[in-house]
Symmetry: C2
Subunit: 300 residues, 2 copies
């Protein structure tokens, strides 16, 4: 039983139009809302991170989801469950990291309870006024595919941590303290006039491309040589996997009209067809949804 | 280390005006938001409840918080973390219970992840348009104290369950399937013109009274004989404790002006002073905040 199968059961039970994008857009209220959880032993280990960095990342991954919708991140609520042996220091450092990641976003509520393991669930609310809201269903043929920055660094950082290493610090920090792409989101969602797709690359760039392709019934063709990545990745023998499949970079990928794309890093184009096509040194590699999913880190 | 001490650390770290009421009121967006978690082994056990009833209660306790603010409950997001051995049936029944509890409220998102124990965190969003929003700081001297219904049944139900009993079913269901007081909230928040306090009695009636008294710097004087309770409670030798301290009835208690109060059950009056005073058979029992807290079920 995998996450995506559970989500299908939920969709069927609720019969809801809202389940699909990372954020739900509540048009009557002019807001988007998203909620994501981090579970000790599943999403993080205190062997590799600190309470401060955990607070930072908990806020940032949810702010990133709001950015992916194109809305302006405004407010967070935070539910924290902690084992008995966790004390005041943890709570204070966690919230300091959360606050520092927030910037102008305000933490307005939540609760704190007991538990066996640390469990964090954050809800983020964004304002849609003045912004064009994205949907992964809205990629259109002829649009350019743009990204906000480099991919693979977070996956490489995780690999280093799991191998007992603590540097290069740039790669390690990419994993532990990602940064949501607020400016990219602001510019795209205020300049783009037609419908468009935008996602963050929390589950990997190829996964985001694959989700957009499937939801929009189009083919996304990407030139691998155009995808930016940190030069330190060149020492990894699985560079391509890290760039395409390594998750948690929290960059944004969007399909936008040419006049909006021209100021950004263009990595490809939306074409008719299905799935994701990667152009690499005269080869055309077709990635099916299954190809992408089978290489993904699986929560279950 | 207790929940309330952690909350003080959080308030100091965030330096936020929002932390205090169960819902945060986001005036620029015209919404209130609240998030609450239920943890297996802390807040519930599958020995006593079913996935359907757990889904029901998870929705209802958050809808109740929105009702306590006076706002109209509109949307929920749900984060669910499940151990590997939990299957499709659980997810389907849980979401069916959630949906049935929601009524017109829509479930619009959330996520599902792995974990060791079941962890549920629900966020509820309410709309403030046309409603006067409450705050526990806003009780005013001379206002009447009103309640939406009887107290003690949920606590009695929990006591029966812990003692291995399954009836009377009315008491058991009060605990497992509470009902948020949407109509009471609607009428109070649309009729009341001046500032007022309203809370749900999730942590017990005396706790809610005590929180309002402290936050508003007033004394709440309540006539015990006016507090409604289920007649089946008379067979319990700790009737008074169940009515005043037993939690999870999810009724509402409010301090409102006399012309609003006249259509409701009036149990007392807001006076100058501090703390909670219970009038019982010619006696005046003064309950300090500490008295109330020491009898509370403590998560930690």
């Amino acid at each position: 039983m995998k996450e995506k199968e559970f989500i299908n059961i939920i969709k069927n039970t609720l019969n809801s139009d809202y389940i699909g994008d990372d954020c739900a857009c509540l048009r009557d209220l002019g807001i988007v809302v998203t909620q994501d959880s981090l579970v000790e032993g599943v999403h993080f280990s205190l062997d590799f991170t600190t309470p401060y960095k955990l607070g930072w990342k908990s806020a940032m991954v949810n702010i990133s989801d709001v950015c992916a919708s194109g809305a302006e991140p405004k407010y967070l609520t935070v539910a924290l469950s902690l084992p008995k042996n966790i004390g005041e220091d943890f709570v204070e450092e966690f919230y300091q990291g959360l606050k520092d990641a927030c910037g102008e976003v305000q933490v307005v509520g939540g609760d704190i309870t007991g538990s066996d393991k640390i469990f964090i669930s954050v809800t983020a609310i964004g304002k849609t006024e003045g912004r064009k809201i994205s949907s992964r269903k809205n990629a259109n043929i002829g649009q350019k595919i743009i990204v906000s920055g480099g991919h693979g660094a977070s996956g490489a950082g995780l690999k280093l941590l799991l191998g007992g290493k603590n540097e290069p610090s740039g790669l390690i920090n990419s994993h532990l303290m990602p940064v949501a792409q607020r400016d990219f989101s602001l510019i795209v969602s205020t300049r783009q006039k037609n419908d468009y797709a935008m996602m963050d690359t929390s589950d990997g760039l190829a996964d985001a491309l694959s989700q957009i392709a499937e939801s929009s019934c189009v083919n996304l063709e990407v030139d691998f040589s155009k995808i930016p990545y940190n030069k330190e990745l060149e020492s990894f023998d699985d560079l391509e996997d890290l760039v395409l499949l390594g998750g948690e970079d929290y960059q944004l990928v969007a399909t936008v009209d040419e006049e909006v794309a021209k100021d950004f890093i263009i990595i490809g184009e939306v074409k008719s067809g299905s799935g994701v096509t990667i152009l690499k040194q005269d080869k055309k590699i077709q990635l099916s949804k299954q190809d992408v999913e089978e290489k993904l880190f699986n929560h279950f």
